[in-house]
């Protein structure tokens, strides 16, 4: 476990391509206000023969102009559109403004859809069936290449692959780039899409709801939880040093106080068992920001509805904070679960830090722990420090501490 050195970093733009719409922080604010889940029967592909049918889909299709996006796959178009929204919100429209910026993309599956289509071409027709177009998309850095091209980003560029916390890792790597003075500002984007073959097969691997054969639903932290329901989306953030943001008089949405990450050793592809947990990361993250548990109003959790995930994460958070505070919340019941949803969590936390809005876990009738406060009733919080916590299959753990914009 480790935390980044102190580096005053701020968030100045949010961009979102989601089932709730395409836009900036107003899309995130309205999804928190409405608290309406986007999870519904999948319409983008047939699911009749599958054991599961629900998902949270992005319905918008014309994300970029035809001529520009002619060769771009859907997942790349989502990333470009989200990054453009974030950049517009951060008021960075001058030509070449983004040349020195860095770019970090976080993704779990990248453009797997193109890879599968490429291989299908071969399986159906041999070498003649292969499409040259598709091949560059078969490596996960293709979205970053296309975003950098579309936005003119020429600084350090990275794609980070990870299940569960790809979004958080992208944010943390962006902060690390700032700390190492490789850039003064970084565009971060978490992106993953729903894809029929993967959707079907993950279900057959019994990692999706209903993994107990019961009813299919997304109920993180509830006793009826029986697996995640998949979603998709792209959420982008503009993250800069405080100095850089102030120099260009940017409107600051939130400050990042501290970031830490590491892993808990566990069995392959599993969430840690309770006996395997250790509690170093959150302690280190709090200490590094000189904060104590009582300073926190809210914590966003990553629990997906997988029972092992939910149980382990609550144990980690309860141990770090004790009984009662902070209020625990999540976006997963609204957005569905995907590997890079973490940037949406950070975007939601940013809106909470500024406007006090937060999602309500209104489905949570039977929490798996009674000694913890969940945000089950609508209400606002006064802007304060927010923890965005992530725990992934395989034991990766992340902690981001976010707060209101610094006072002048």
């Amino acid at each position: 476990m480790a935390v980044l050195p102190p580096c005053r970093a701020v968030i100045t733009g949010i961009g979102c391509v989601s089932p709730f719409g395409v836009g900036g922080s107003e899309v995130v604010a309205s999804l928190l206000r409405a608290n309406a889940s986007a999870i519904a029967p999948i319409r983008g592909f047939a699911t009749e023969t599958f054991s599961h049918h629900l998902g949270a889909e992005v319905a918008v299709t014309n994300l970029v102009e035809d001529e520009e996006g002619r060769r771009w796959s859907r997942v790349s178009q989502m990333a470009v559109a989200a990054c453009r929204q974030a950049v517009a919100e951060a008021q960075l429209s001058a030509p070449e403004a983004l040349h020195p910026f860095g770019l970090v993309i976080g993704t779990e599956f990248g453009d797997l859809q193109s890879t599968e289509a490429f291989d299908v071409g071969f399986l159906q027709r041999g070498p003649r069936g292969l499409r040259a177009f598709l091949f560059p998309n078969t490596v996960m850095n293709s979205m970053a290449g296309i975003v950098s091209l579309a936005l003119g980003i020429k600084g350090p560029i990275l794609t980070l692959n990870q299940s569960g916390v790809a979004g958080e890792l992208a944010v943390i790597r962006a902060l690390a780039l700032l700390a190492a003075n490789r850039a003064r500002a970084v565009i971060v984007c978490g992106v993953d899409e729903l894809f029929s073959v993967l959707y079907e097969t993950l279900g057959r691997l019994h990692v999706l709801s209903p993994c107990d054969g019961g009813d299919e639903a997304c109920r993180p932290f509830d006793q009826r939880h029986n697996g995640p329901v998949l979603g998709e989306g792209a959420t982008a953030l503009v993250i800069e040093t405080l100095e850089h943001a102030q120099a260009r008089e940017a409107a600051i949405l939130a400050e990042v106080y501290s970031a830490g990450w590491g892993a808990i050793t566990t069995r392959p592809y599993h969430y840690p068992a309770l006996s395997q947990l250790h509690y170093r990361l959150l302690g280190q993250a709090l200490a590094s920001a000189a904060l104590s548990p009582k300073d926190f109003s809210v914590a966003y959790l990553s629990g997906s509805g997988d029972p092992y995930h939910d149980t382990a994460e609550l144990a980690l958070v309860a141990e770090a904070f004790g009984a009662g505070r902070p209020l625990l919340t999540s976006v997963t019941h609204l957005s569905g679960e995907y590997g890079s949803v973490g940037t949406l969590r950070v975007a939601a936390a940013t809106v909470t830090a500024t406007a006090g809005l937060l999602p309500t876990l209104s489905y949570l009738d039977q929490p798996i722990r009674s000694d913890i406060c969940f945000a089950r009733q609508p209400g606002a919080v006064s802007p304060s420090v927010i923890l965005v916590h992530g725990l992934a299959r395989g034991g990766m753990q992340t902690a981001l501490l976010i707060g209101p914009p610094p006072t002048q």
Partner: protein, 112 residues
Amino acid sequence: MALDSRIGKLDFDKHYAWIRAMTQEEIIVEVKKMLSQRLRVAPERVAALEADSPLLRGGLGLDSLDCIELLLGLEDEFGLEFKEDAEEGWIEHFSSLERISQLVIHMQGELP
């Protein structure tokens, strides 16, 4: 640029006999379909193309990746075979619909 040094020997079978009989206009129609299906060029832009409209930079804007895809399309649809060691500047053969059809016609004329 002489085409001969770059064009491999044709390998027609009966199934592709009809290609031999195609006129330039018919070839252009097929290539336009490739532009829209393989290269995803918008239908209205394809429809607006004349035989001599520039397809590369300054025109439709096709680049080398597009031209490889078109080349594969020609190999697949017309049964052509291009030598692997194409010279630099090979994409100029794709600079207009007229030039592409000339390439196909030239290879049509290469009877075993």
